[in-house]
């Protein structure tokens, strides 16, 4: 039995009378790439928002690395090793690509306003280290040539890579990606997949929301399917493809779009 890095017990989230996430329970094993699928409105992104502390759950518990993190705020969770990207990219548009990435490390000395005045040398030195690491991470995601461009002016696919780069600066153990391949040209999707698999070999765990079934079937194992806020399937991609309910309820409807 593999060790769980993330555990959900009965996680529920209501919006008024509407139950967006309905007592969801599953474990994410360390070192896995889990695909989270389901039709639009199934509650996938809401579940991500609950897991990352952006929304408090109405009920249920979330454990990260065995610790109860149910009520932890989003900024604390990043410090605990949980990173995420967004369905619609959220770059800091009027900042350079490099600044976007340099922002991410936690507890920078110069983040206190008096830092650059009281410890100018130390802040400068730390900036050097952070800059070097940021450039290295940008090279990894193939964005280093764009370091000095405004983040709002790069393509949507590059923004997805930038979000991954920002998250990597925090050195998280678990990374949640919300539709990384949506609206991205195939060449960039290829790079993204390659990077995800490389990071996975280095030991990082991924949970990926994705509508692109080829992507999920080829790169994710296990696959979890949500429908109307509930887990309707959990298994290997092969089982998913053979599952009549999924074919009907989800895979079928996807091909109708």
């Amino acid at each position: 039995m593999a060790e769980a890095i993330l555990g959900l017990q009965g996680v529920t989230r209501d919006f008024g009378p509407f139950r967006a996430v309905d007592s969801v329970s599953f474990d994410i094993n360390r070192g896995s790439i889990t695909g989270l699928i389901g039709p639009n409105g199934a509650g996938k992104t809401t579940l991500f928002n609950v897991l990352t502390g952006m929304l408090p759950p109405t009920a249920g518990k979330v454990h990260l690395d065995g610790r109860d993190v149910t009520r932890l705020s989003a900024n604390r969770l990043f410090g605990q090793g949980l990173g995420r990207t967004f369905q619609i990219p959220r770059p800091f548009s009027k900042m350079s690509v490099l600044e976007n990435v340099m922002l991410a490390p936690m507890a920078q000395l110069g983040e206190r306003w008096f830092g650059p005045f009281l410890h100018a040398d130390k802040v400068q030195q730390q900036e050097g280290v952070i800059r070097d690491k940021a450039i290295e991470v940008l090279k990894f995601v193939t964005l280093d040539q764009l370091a000095d461009h405004a983040a709002g002016q790069i393509s949507g696919g590059q923004m997805k890579l930038l979000e991954l780069a920002r998250v990597l600066m925090g050195d998280p153990q678990l990374i949640l990606l919300d539709e990384p391949a949506a609206g991205v040209n195939p060449a960039l999707t290829g790079i993204l997949i390659e990077k995800i698999e490389e990071l996975n070999r280095q030991g990082k765990t991924f949970v990926i929301i994705e509508h692109d079934m080829d992507f999920v079937m080829q790169h994710c194992d296990p696959v979890i399917a949500l429908a109307e806020g509930k887990v309707v399937f959990e298994g290997t991609p092969q089982e998913a493809q053979a599952n009549p309910i999924l074919l009907d309820a989800y895979l079928g409807s996807q091909f109708d779009d």
Binding site: T52, M54, S73, A74, N75, R76, F78, G79, G83, R84, F86, R90, P91, F92, S93, K94, M95, S96, L98, E99, M102, L103, A104, M106, Q108, L109, G110, E111, R112, W113, G115, P116, F117, V123, Q124, E127, G128, R131, I135, A147, D148, A150, R166, V167, G170
Partner: protein, 322 residues
């Protein structure tokens, strides 16, 4: 000739004092995206704080502590900072236009309080009994005004330098990230509430410094000096100069203050008498037109914000050229 020079010194002193307030607002709005609609409240807190702490003994209202002037000025800044802290805690959850409405309300309440609470700060009569520092030594005339102008310019230069270092530091990066996308910053481990509060306080302390200098210059402050129009003037200065650019903030202050005084002078000199009666109102309309026009045709201002390129940031290339 000496009259023109005297006037230029007077003009530059006021424009430089207002520049400091615009720099403070630029930290809040230009860098952090905080919509402070009550600039004048923090300006007033600095002005009243300085005069109450540094003024001569009064019986009619609070004050007259005769504190050594630099400490009184710092006291005024602290007053503005404390007010920002309280306002900030109360409005922590407000964004954008909601924050603007709340802070605008604070400024109106501030003015009404000072106008009516005579025992606190002299009511509508304003605060009197303040003697300008080194007044006994330098006299009242030209020499004093030159001295005071230099004093103001030194403080303007120091404020500019301080802010340039601040916005190029990791703290400045946090402010910009907050302005661009709070949710993304939150997901990257940052604490928006804390950052927003810090920015509001630092900016308000700087606006308070501006108020303290303004009150020192006139050796007087009254509720007439803290009307909403000053908030709009300072906003116009920032929008025209270029939000997010400290050079633009200073340039905008000089441009708008020149336009404001020139329009007042021109109207009173050349306009027919029945129009002259409305000089103040016409100026209000003009400042509104400037703000709207700028936002429509050149929203980035005369000096647009520059991308901070951190790659070669080891050497600080921004030089103080005041």
């Amino acid at each position: 000739m000496i009259g023109i020079i005297s006037y230029l010194i007077f003009f530059t002193t006021v424009a430089a004092i207002l520049s400091i307030a615009v720099l403070g607002l630029n930290l809040q709005w230009g860098n952090s995206g905080l919509f402070n609609g009550g600039v004048v409240a923090f300006f007033g807190a600095g002005a009243y704080g300085t005069l109450i702490l540094g003024g001569t003994s009064q019986t009619a209202h609070l004050g007259g502590f005769e504190i050594f002037y630099p400490l009184a000025l710092i006291g005024g800044m602290v007053t503005a900072g404390l007010m920002a802290w309280i306002v900030g805690i109360l409005t922590l959850r407000l964004r954008h236009d909601y924050l603007a409405i709340a802070t605008f309300g604070v400024a109106v309440a501030f003015e009404n309080l000072l106008r009516n609470a005579e025992g606190l700060a002299g009511g509508a009569q304003g605060l009197r009994g303040f003697e300008r520092p080194l007044h006994a030594w330098l006299g009242d005339g030209f020499t004093y005004n030159v001295f005071f102008l230099i004093f103001v310019l030194v403080l303007l230069g120091a404020t500019y330098r301080f802010l340039e270092v601040l916005i190029r530091s990791p703290f400045g990066r946090l402010l910009r990230a907050m302005r661009e996308d709070e949710t993304a910053a939150l997901s990257l481990g940052k604490d928006p509430a804390k950052i927003r509060l810090t920015s509001l306080i630092i900016g308000s302390v700087i606006i308070g410094l501006s108020g303290g200098l303004y009150a020192t210059f006139y050796a007087f402050i009254s509720p007439q000096d803290v009307l909403p129009i000053l908030t709009f003037q300072i906003w116009a200065m920032l929008i025209v100069g270029g939000a997010g650019n400290n050079k633009g903030a200073v340039a905008g202050a000089f441009v708008i203050w020149a336009a404001w005084t020139a329009s007042g002078w021109g109207l009173s000199r050349f306009a027919p008498l029945e129009i002259q009666l409305y000089t103040g109102s016409i100026q209000f309309i003009l400042i509104g037109l400037v703000i709207v026009g700028m936002l429509l045709w050149r929203p980035q201002g005369l000096f647009p914000e520059k991308l901070v390129i951190s790659q070669s940031g080891r050497t600080n290339r921004s030089e103080n050229r005041e």
